[in-house]
């Protein structure tokens, strides 16, 4: 590793050519209202319990874990919005926050098909699913692990069908119970997400690297401790639903029990303070390089949890709930009933991260080694899957395919707030760029939202990519190598620019 990485290489992305090239690939899936006229707002909400009553394989690890106990229940929380002028629908949206690891390829498409015909008057393209990224939720991808390892557990394909119906009932309920309501927005703070990438004196970076090391130099990037809050009220201004976004995936819990991680604890506390019927949608803002894992001062944090008599997950839930309640108490002064709601759904083709010949060779060798192994090791299925995709991508590239990655992007304007989605684990710097450049008062970003035909994975920054190249160890510079990046910094910059461009259009910002 060259310790003297060129600073341009660190931060620079050659954007001009990429952006010019791919704007042409921008497709319009669903058209929102073009003007920001205020209309009356209808709000509906419902919750689905998506906790299976049978053992189930858990997502989020390199080898299979079968959950036979429930630590906390996984839910899907649904928010239905419609704006009207008189009896005319101006625009609409259904947002679903799911206690899942990710929205696997095909899941959102399958769910839309499952809903077909059950939501009269609703354009199903205007529904999106987003995952909280809990690593102790049921797995939804049948081939994620070796199927034989699932033993007597509910198979992922079986779970998905059951989950679809649970969520469909909640979506229908939310849509049907939509009624005149109001909205308020605000931002608070909670220290929950931590940058998890550690950089050493030779320039190498490691996710969850040891900081108690003489060669440790710094945590690679930034953290954003904002807690974005959107509250929805009924016509009596009683709190009905809330969307909360923070730059942290819910992955503080390990082990073999099914759990919704800290969102469960946050919801419990919010229910205690604001009523059990409040539907809470937890969203993960761009946080590809973030997690709740503490990288330094660990003993002091653990001691404080002991003094409080809380688990760390409970403490995280407490912090989220405290921030939420603090904001709610303030924004009740500014509840709006007539606000513009515009929802655009775009298809954006992003330049893919190109697999180099050297990376292909590494991946090919790893696959071959695993394939000839008589007895597979625990993480082999996971490793084979990742490196196999690298090989596939390289071979496709050679034929001129897979040069782009198609993203379904939702961009909404709700009053003074912009909401924008992406399907990735997007590094926090990109979220900061979008927020900084957005004309909206507040920009509510949601990662791990929607699903395409391929896995989305992490989107790293140039400085993260510079932390190490792909080798035979999948955890070398994990999250920033080609094994887990279908889109790299170049594509990310296009994503940022396209997101900002679409938000600008909703605020009628003149083009430069």
């Amino acid at each position: 590793m060259n310790a003297n990485i060129d600073r341009r290489q660190f931060m620079n992305v050659s954007l001009a050519s990429g952006a010019g090239l791919f704007i042409g690939g921008l497709g319009r899936i669903s058209q929102g209202a073009e003007t920001a006229q205020a209309g009356s707002l209808l709000v509906g909400a419902a919750t689905a319990d998506i906790t299976p009553d049978r053992p189930v394989p858990l997502t989020g690890a390199t080898s299979v874990r079968i959950a036979r106990e429930i630590l906390s229940r996984c839910t899907a929380n649904v928010l239905a919005l419609e704006s009207r002028e008189g009896q005319r629908t101006v625009d609409q949206a259904i947002l679903v926050s799911c206690d899942l690891g990710v929205i696997r390829p095909g899941i959102q498409e399958g769910f839309r098909k499952h809903l077909a015909g059950r939501l009269p008057g609703f354009d199903l393209d205007k529904l999106f699913l987003a995952a909280t990224h809990t690593h102790t939720a049921p797995e939804t991808l049948q081939e994620r692990y070796d199927e034989k390892d699932y033993a007597d557990a509910m198979q992922p394909k079986e779970y998905v069908s059951w989950m679809y119906e649970q969520m469909a009932q909640a979506v229908v309920k939310a849509w049907e119970n939509r009624a005149a309501g109001a909205v308020a927005w605000g931002v608070g703070q909670a220290v929950v997400g931590r940058n998890r990438r550690v950089t050493y004196s030779d320039g190498a970076a490691k996710m969850y690297g040891n900081t108690n090391d003489p060669q440790f130099r710094h945590i690679e990037g930034y953290e954003d401790h904002a807690v974005h809050v959107l509250c929805f009220y009924d016509s009596q201004k009683r709190l009905k639903a809330a969307a909360v976004a923070l730059a942290c995936p819910s992955q503080s819990v390990g082990g073999n029990k099914l759990s919704a991680d800290f969102w469960h604890d946050a919801r419990e506390l919010i229910h205690q303070r604001h009523g059990k019927d409040v539907c809470v949608l937890g969203f993960c803002a761009p946080a590809g390089d973030q997690s709740p894992t503490i990288l330094y001062r660990k003993a002091a944090e653990a001691r404080m949890d002991r003094l409080r008599g809380l688990t760390y997950t409970q403490e995280l839930g407490r912090r989220v709930a405290e921030a939420f309640c603090d904001v709610v108490g303030v924004i009740t002064k500014d509840i709006r009933t007539n606000v513009p709601l515009i929802h655009r759904v775009r298809k954006v083709d992003l330049p893919a991260r190109i697999v180099t010949e050297a990376e292909y060779e590494v991946a090919r060798k790893v696959c071959e080694e695993i394939d000839v192994r008589k007895k597979r090791e625990k993480a082999d299925a996971w490793t084979r899957h990742l490196y196999g995709l690298v090989v596939e991508r390289y071979l496709a590239q050679q034929k001129g395919d897979r040069k782009t990655y198609a993203v379904e992007m939702h961009v909404l304007r709700l009053g003074d707030v912009a909401i924008a989605t992406n399907p990735f684990e997007l590094f926090v710097d990109y979220g900061v760029q979008i927020q900084a450049r957005s004309p909206a008062l507040q920009t509510f970003l949601i990662q791990l939202a929607t699903s395409g035909r391929q896995h989305a994975y992490y989107v790293p920054t140039p400085r993260a990519v510079a932390g190490g190249a792909l080798n035979k160890q999948p955890f070398t510079n994990y999250s920033a190598t080609v094994a887990v990046n279908v889109v790299g910094p170049e594509g990310a910059q296009v994503l940022v620019d396209m997101t900002v461009k679409n938000i600008n259009e909703l605020w009628n910002v003149p083009k430069k």
């Binding site: 605000g186 931002v187 108690n212 945590i219 001062r297 002091a300 303030v330 760029q433 507040q442």
Partner: protein, 481 residues
């Protein structure tokens, strides 16, 4: 060249001197605590420190203060070790204050080891200039820096004497809370360049250079009846939200004190300690409109909001701290002199500094910017003869926690290194303690350039920064063996 550098580093290590030696750090001894606060607000207009331009105070928005906590451990009637921790609403300590104060204390507190005073600036930019010649200051109607400095030294001696005199059997507890206060202020662009407070709305903005630490390290001191005497709050943020005003203002620490007094205890002495925050400030780099709107809805100024956040964090842990008071703890206080390698001024940097200094002189600039460049020229002229600079650091062990001071505006990353590798349960890293030595930037910041990471701002470079980390950790970890 590399060999020369290595030789220099080993030479520097040899020069590390322990000024105050503690015989034992692991054994517990009985704690005696005293605390006091004093007003250091001048009665007349003064020149305000912290900006390049000259500012004369037009009014007093709130008082500036100094607060002291005296700690002594005894084995029977025998003093084992001691410290007086002082937090002062001033931008930084110039050489005009610490040494004369020590001399004065020798007279006012005979028998007290004045090297054990830990003098920290909160970095408020709306407090007094304490050196003559730094700014061009009107002679009429303005209290001159020398006069204010004498006033300040007397006040500091008085508050230290009071705290020392009031010490009584007491206890200590340490806790950790969280508050989002300090924000990294260095924006990085597509060409790799960095800028303090650079625009984040431009298309070429790529990210914030470094991280932030929103952990609030807190030390509570209690009397024998478990009544709170003082709280020391280590926040990784300098108090410079209202830094450009023409008023005397203790910045957010005033609001913290006011709110803690109102909501916890009116008599509580509050010591504000800035953490490693050379690249940190309270200024928002993005999402500014949303934050402003929240302030309006709350009906608060931003310093009041910071006060609210810190006070909320203090209240959140107060009862936990009260349940875990220690009256007999291991205590040790070492004062070390470290000779750190200076950041060498290159020929190119020399030429730039000369050009800028001359241009400013020609323009008749009355601020400190000309001196800033001229000092760089002066440094070049003596850097081969004086390749190191000596700095004082205080390292303390109080029970399970360590306190490590430095005289810099030290970048966040160094603080994280210290906290990560320290054997203490909690490590309070306190910057701007003792005579100020400018910014201590990291390697990545120096590569990006920009104010705070250019040679004019850095008397010590990143090699010296790493050495400071290693020496600090060596001492802390010895105290916790």
């Amino acid at each position: 060249m590399k060999a020369c550098r290595l030789q220099l580093l080993s030479f520097v290590c040899v020069l590390s001197l322990v000024v105050g030696v503690t015989p034992s750090s692991g054994s517990s001894n009985t704690l005696f605590i005293g605390s006091a606060t004093i007003d250091i607000t001048p009665s007349r207009p003064i020149a305000l420190a912290g900006q390049f331009n000259t500012r004369i105070s037009r009014s007093v928005e709130n008082p500036i203060t100094a607060t002291a906590v005296a700690i002594e451990t005894r084995d029977g009637d025998r003093m084992v070790d001691c410290a007086v921790l002082v937090s002062c609403d001033i931008v930084s300590f110039r050489p005009t204050v610490p040494a004369p104060l020590q001399e004065k204390l020798k007279k006012t507190l005979p028998g007290f080891d004045s090297s054990k005073v830990v003098l920290t600036a909160t970095h408020t930019h709306t407090s007094a200039v304490t050196e003559e010649g730094a700014y061009k200051i009107p002679k009429e109607g303005v209290m001159q820096p020398a006069e204010y400095t004498e006033f300040l030294i007397n006040k500091l001696a008085e508050v230290i004497g009071k705290a020392w005199g009031k010490r009584q059997p007491g206890g200590v507890s340490w806790v950790l809370g969280h508050a989002v206060v300090g924000l990294n202020r260095r924006a990085v662009y597509a060409d790799g360049k960095a800028k303090m407070y650079g625009s984040t709305t431009t298309n070429s903005f790529r990210g914030i250079e470094g991280g932030e630490d929103h952990g609030l390290e807190m030390l509570f001191f209690w009397d024998k009846d478990n009544k709170p005497l003082a709280v020391c709050i280590n926040v990784e943020c300098p108090s410079q939200e209202v830094e450009s005003r023409y008023t005397i203002n203790a910045d957010f620490w005033h609001d913290v004190r006011t709110q803690i007094h109102a909501e916890i205890n009116n008599d509580l002495c509050v010591l504000g300690w800035p953490g490693a925050a050379g690249d940190i400030s309270p200024h928002r780099m993005y999402r500014k409109a949303a934050e402003e709107r929240m302030l309006k809805l709350r009906g608060l100024t931003y310093t009041q909001e910071i006060g609210r956040r810190i006070t909320t964090a203090v209240k959140d842990v107060y009862e936990l701290a009260k349940r875990d008071i220690h009256t007999e703890v291991p205590f040790a206080h070492q004062v070390k002199e470290l000779a750190l390698p200076v950041r060498m001024v290159t020929e190119k940097e020399l030429a730039e500094a000369k050009t800028q200094a001359e241009a400013l002189e020609k323009k008749g600039d009355t601020g400190v910017k000309g001196r800033w460049f001229q000092r760089t020229v002066d440094r070049y002229n003596k850097q081969n003869k004086e390749p190191t600079q000596t700095v004082d650091v205080h390292i303390l062990r109080i029970g399970d926690i360590a306190i490590a001071t430095n005289p810099f505006e030290m970048f966040h990353d160094y603080g994280v290194q210290m906290k990560s590798r320290s054997k203490a349960l909690q490590t309070f890293v306190i910057q701007l303690t003792g005579p100020s030595c400018g910014y201590l930037a990291t390697k990545r910041a120096i590569e990006g350039g920009g104010y705070s990471a250019v040679v004019q701002s850095n008397r010590i470079g990143h090699e010296g920064g790493q050495m400071l980390v290693e020496e600090t950790l060596k001492t802390i970890n010895e105290l916790f063996q």
